[in-house]
């Protein structure tokens, strides 16, 4: 495990990209697999552009979900990003 830190700038790993189809769901394509994302999951990955830092991503999500516990959001996003990094979908 290597959870993201505040300054981490997650990005899509090489060979991982969005499919061209548009709609509520979006599909991430990568070697030998695909992942259909919607809702918060989709939003988080869309924010992983290699520019935004982890803390900026967390802040953006907190602004959207201001009723939620900030520490919890932070923890959940970190776990989600780490899961995608393990699958070599995200790099950081």
């Amino acid at each position: 495990m290597s959870l993201p830190t505040d300054s981490t700038q997650p990005r899509l790993a090489s060979g991982c990209r969005w499919s061209n189809s548009n709609g509520e769901d979006k599909t991430l394509l990568f070697p030998e697999g695909a992942l259909r994302l919607q809702g918060t999951g989709k939003k988080i990955v869309e924010l992983c552009d290699g520019q935004r830092t982890f803390s900026e991503i967390v802040n953006a999500l907190q602004a959207d979900y201001n009723a939620s516990d900030p520490a919890q959001i932070r923890q959940d996003v970190a776990a989600f990003l780490e899961q995608l990094r393990q699958k070599r979908i995200l790099d950081y």
Binding site: S2, S14, G15, S21, L29, P31, A34, R88
Partner: protein, 381 residues
């Protein structure tokens, strides 16, 4: 309603500069003159994208043997498919690689035969190893997903740790270690390729340890040998369920080995659309669903997981394509597998030393070398 497949496997040619002894291509290969033209393939890729297929796997033979490969990749990419090139790397240098990536190639899978040059060349039946090493460094510098494939068997398994260490130095995103699957040329060479139980057990440990060590750096996927498994593999994710394969001549098959099953009628993309083939072609319907199943599959809880295993293997080993895959421990014909494994583990065919096949006088560079230990894959006419 029948869901459309997820991926298209395009065997764009059966021509190949390598003669790998574990090749799973059919023994009867599509002749070069029968190959689909550029326009045919592009039409097929457009149809696949319309059907919302996600991935295109370009394979062969060696896809680089086609002069129009860049055009094929560009067309598939424009149609929206995720393009994967499965290659030996022979015929690829930096300028062509850069052009293929520019055309939209997403993922390249480069095969290795061994960690040692003499052995790698001996397995491939040609001098390929040094070029592959050089090419791996060039690929790593490009913006493309990079997988290294390694097919393992009795003749190289004792060097598995060394092979993984070599691949690690080449820094792919992903490593695929596949035990040989016994179809085509590999089935002809089974006696020389089948691992011993000891080799297999050791390989499981080595792969598990490597997976942990490489976690987060290199994704390691592995394919276990089904002869030693308790239950069969869910071949192709089930017949006519997730994958569609087009052979070099345009024949649509549910799996690359399906041509061995007699009395199956395969339709051709020259005459039919992919959608029609998927829904209507008799070959795809033959073993779709469960109505074809025999006991014990018919009432087995695992039938929705492994779909009775592989139809081609069932035919090749029992003579009946609708039989339970004999690798299944519940199959009435499982004794065929047990007898084969007993023989392979007791007679202990030696692990050979690489033979210098390159001292042979060969009139035609395309012809495979002759060898005592095994049969090299030939090229189509």
């Amino acid at each position: 309603m029948l869901p459309n497949p997820l991926a298209l496997i395009a065997e764009v040619t059966h021509r190949c500069p390598l003669h790998c002894v574990y090749c799973s291509n059919p023994l009867e290969m599509a002749a070069a003159r029968s190959e689909l033209g550029t326009e045919d393939w592009i039409r097929v890729f457009n149809q696949a994208a319309e059907m919302k297929l996600l991935h295109l796997h370009l394979t062969g033979g060696e896809p680089l043997a086609r002069a129009d490969l860049k055009e094929l990749i560009a067309a598939a990419h424009t149609a929206g498919l995720y393009t994967n090139l499965i290659t030996s790397g022979i015929g690829l240098a930096e300028p062509r690689l850069a052009a293929l990536i520019e055309a939209g190639l997403d993922h390249i899978q480069l095969s290795f035969q061994d960690s040692r040059e003499d052995s790698g060349n001996w397995i491939a039946g040609t001098r390929a190893h040094a070029h592959k090493l050089e090419l791996a460094h060039i690929i790593r510098k490009q913006k493309v997903a990079f997988t290294i494939n390694l097919v393992v068997h009795r003749q190289n398994l004792d060097r598995l740790e060394e092979m993984i260490a070599l691949i690690e130095t080449l820094q792919p995103d992903r490593m695929e270690i596949a035990h040989t699957q016994y179809y085509g040329w590999a089935l002809e060479n089974r006696a020389a390729l089948m691992p011993t139980r000891e080799q297999l057990e050791n390989s499981v440990k080595v792969i598990d340890a490597a997976r942990k060590r490489l976690e987060g750096r290199i994704r390691l996927d592995s394919v276990t040998p089904d002869y030693y498994a308790r239950y069969p593999k869910a071949c192709m994710g089930g017949w006519g369920r997730r994958l569609l394969l087009i052979d070099p001549a345009g024949k649509a098959l549910p799996c690359h080995a399906a041509g061995v099953i007699p009395d199956l009628r395969f339709d051709n993309v020259r005459e039919h659309s992919l959608q029609w083939i998927w829904e209507e072609s008799p070959a795809f319907q033959q073993f779709r669903g469960e109505s074809w199943m025999q006991p014990p599959c018919r009432s087995c809880d695992r039938r929705t997981e492994d779909f009775g295993g592989c139809r081609c293997q069932a035919f090749l080993l029992t003579g009946d394509a609708a039989a339970t895959d004999p690798v299944c421990s519940l199959a009435p014909t499982h004794h065929f597998i047990e007898a084969t494994l007993l023989q392979m583990n007791t007679e202990r065919l030696p692990i050979s030393n690489p033979v210098n096949i390159f001292s042979q006088q060969r009139n035609n560079e395309n012809a495979p070398p002759s060898a005592g230990a095994w049969l090299y894959r030939k090229n189509p006419s």
